[in-house]
Symmetry: C4
């Protein structure tokens, strides 16, 4: 193995996960992300903010400086700097430090501080959550395969929500909480999705009858998207299984749990999991 330049070494520590320096860096990073998000959460509670606000502010400055150093190091040692800066994680890394600096410069940017909450996304990188990307692909592919059925379903739900919302606006009216058409449609969405806050409820007998119809309809149609996804995932499972190819006779169509080729009897390659 050839000699490693300092930049390559830094790259290995920061982007790598091998035992030793790389893993230690990851562990320190996770602790810092969790601590900085915990500080953000605590600072949003009024009573904690009043008592410990200046400590949390100091901690935030510290975290931002450290994350800035980390960002500079990442840009410095990235193999392709442009690619890193414009990548998903490059943007997340930048958004993790930007709001604090902005709040120092622009006076009204206090609200932007909430953007720092997206720092939690950085944990996903460390946990290598996207090794599960192929699983996500299976889900996304199933949803894509069913996209037309889902479009029909969503169009039905939208129509239902508008119909029931408009009906309730007529039946109950502004004096019983259904103050406007958008408000009534909000009520219909709260009801059809079975969330049911209870902030707006029908009070007349006729309104309750219409609401009961909306609920029973929603109860019936919630079965449809579930059935669509189940059916697609099963087809996707079978499709993947039937792509298994025997290395001896090159024929397809083997069951997902078969060990031997059903045509020539040779051992099949492992099922490609993902």
């Amino acid at each position: 193995m050839s000699e490693e330049t300092p930049r390559q070494r830094l790259n290995r520590i920061i982007f790598g996960t091998a035992p030793g320096a790389g893993r230690n860096f990851d562990i320190i990073l996770i602790v810092m992300i969790v601590a900085s998000v915990a500080a953000l959460f605590m600072d949003s509670v009024a009573s904690i903010h009043q008592q410990y606000g200046h400590w949390l502010y100091a901690a935030e400055i510290g975290f931002t400086l450290l994350f800035t150093l980390e960002y500079i190091a990442r840009v410095y040692c990235a193999q392709d700097r442009k690619l890193y800066v414009t990548s998903f994680y490059g943007v997340v890394d930048f958004l993790a430090i930007l709001p604090t600096y902005l709040s120092l410069i622009v006076p009204g940017a206090q609200h932007l501080l909430v953007i720092r909450i997206f720092r939690v996304l950085r944990i996903f990188r460390v946990l290598k959550l996207f090794q599960y990307m192929s699983e996500a692909n299976v889900l996304v592919r199933s949803l894509m395969a069913a996209r037309r059925k889902i479009a029909v379903f969503l169009a039905t739900v939208v129509t239902l929500v508008i119909v029931f919302g408009a009906l309730m606006y007529l039946v109950e009216g502004p004096e019983r909480g259904f103050t406007s058409l958008p408000q009534s449609i909000y009520w219909a969405i709260v009801t059809v999705t079975t969330v049911g806050y209870g902030d707006i409820v029908p009070q007349t007998a006729l309104g309750q009858a219409v609401a009961a119809m909306a609920m029973i309809t929603s109860y019936a149609i919630i079965a449809i998207p579930t059935g669509i996804v189940s059916a697609e995932l099963i087809v996707e499972n079978q499709r993947r299984a039937s792509r298994r190819r025997c290395v001896s006779c090159n024929r397809l169509g083997h069951d997902g749990d078969a060990y031997y080729c059903k045509h020539c009897g040779d051992i099949l390659p492992e099922e490609w999991d993902g």
Copy 2:
């Protein structure tokens, strides 16, 4: 290509979607529908109505006149006028302009103005949502195939709702919100569908026990319609696949993902998607 009459030309622009005049017409129409529905929504908010009510009224008159012109043009250039006027979209187009005229003539017809909300259905035509009609057919066919299971399920739910409603009317009584049998059955529907507004809740220990039973029962039976729809959609998928016919040997029963006929080895026609 033979010379086009003005009426044919109008038909091509209004009913067609080809790039050029046809597409431009569609885009203008979508903008107008969205704007008119937005005006309807805004006008239903009391504070906006007080301030901008007369502007929104003027806009509404304008939209109605334009939609009236469009309706007259559609009737004029339709290939079969009777068919268009009595078709689903013909009725929707007519309902989009009727309420405004009615409200000018009949004094108490203010409530009918809400009917204009069905103008959103007109967007479906422009978006050609019904090219997804075959997907809707698959869903409807699955539901039809399962209609007897669904009838048994709904009869069970209705019986449950009546039993639990009557029980709670006895247990909790009028003084705790269960003022009548219909009200108690409304409560039972709100509970069994897991909407759970919380406007009427059991307050005695016995009432809470009965309600808990109702909830656990509903939790168990919501699995049934979902299972029914999933099973039907899977069977429907298999049925469609097994209808694939080889053009060489004319035999059926090929898997949905097969490329070659399993009997004669010829290339199979594409899976008919829809």
Copy 3:
């Protein structure tokens, strides 16, 4: 056809559904059941009871007398009287008239009047809803086949509800609505089934964290019973299909949608639907 005795004729009219007298009797019966249940519903509304209570009482006496006549006629003309009286519908028919007589004799039996609500079950007979009995059997058989999985699932839910209920009783305590262990377990059931009335809610940060855990857990496990029922129904579908037997070669295992025997090529008997 031999001469019909008057009793046989009565049996044909009352129990039969043939066009003519039998069908007319059914239609009159449905109208009467619906009217009597509507009277029951209306009488339970306080304002209607005060105004029209005596009219509804008179109507109830009338309905009860007519239903009594019908019951006597059914007993008289039943082919096997003992069988009818002890059958499901025999009991329902008797319960439809009993409460009114009891309320005349026993003073405190007012509450029993609610039992009359079960008159709606009598509609099921007229609608011949139990011709769908075989569909109900498929559902019941699937649930029976999955009964051990369902038992494991319910034991998990019961344990979860007790654990989360006891935890919240400790964390929130009586002063925030969790007044007792049964009350806390009631809260846990309301939460885990996603009904969510909001009559009892966590107010401390720790309580909200525990509640959030309960919700996410319930969100995950509601998928399990649905999956169980779907899988069983699909297996049941396949099982039924594979019981199709060719009348020529007597072999089994034909697909549910096959028209010809795959062994000898003869036409298969219709799929037995039910």
Copy 4:
């Protein structure tokens, strides 16, 4: 049969379930567990505690003494004492008596008394609920097989909950109930899981629009875990069926409902149910 020692006899009565002494012991034990948990429930209700608190306390002392005797007997007659004491039920048996003794010694240990609620778990042993263990295994195996899909799903839900919670904190703010980031995320969990208490609800039009988006999103994604579990259970069913092995020709791959081997025609062994 050789002579039984007294310890073996005790083991047979306490751990066994044969008719006679073993079954009688089980029945007495279930009655005692139910009675002791009922006393625990009743004692947690303030009004009952005030009136009958001392009776319930006396009963609790009695139950604890009896359960202590039972625990000593179990330890005495267990075939492997260490194994029993460290087993799941050994720990549950110990936890059933520990809190009462602790509350006598340590003054502040009143809260620990709630731990006694886990006595209900002891009923599971008597009911031999874990003969269903293999069914639980099928469920657990299906969930394990789908663990990566479930991880992707949960990561999506966590991200959604954080995004919607932070958005609502910005849009609605502390003055409308969204007092802090953790509180807003609690709201998002209550909404996305469709529990919908209604203790915190959006009040501005913008907030209601964001909430409506959160609900429709949750409505769409609840279909995903259900689909995953359904698909896995179906695959698991097929996998189990395909493991059936003919005892004559030793070949695999028979359908779950086949009676004869499809290769050699011999009778297949029963489907292994569990």
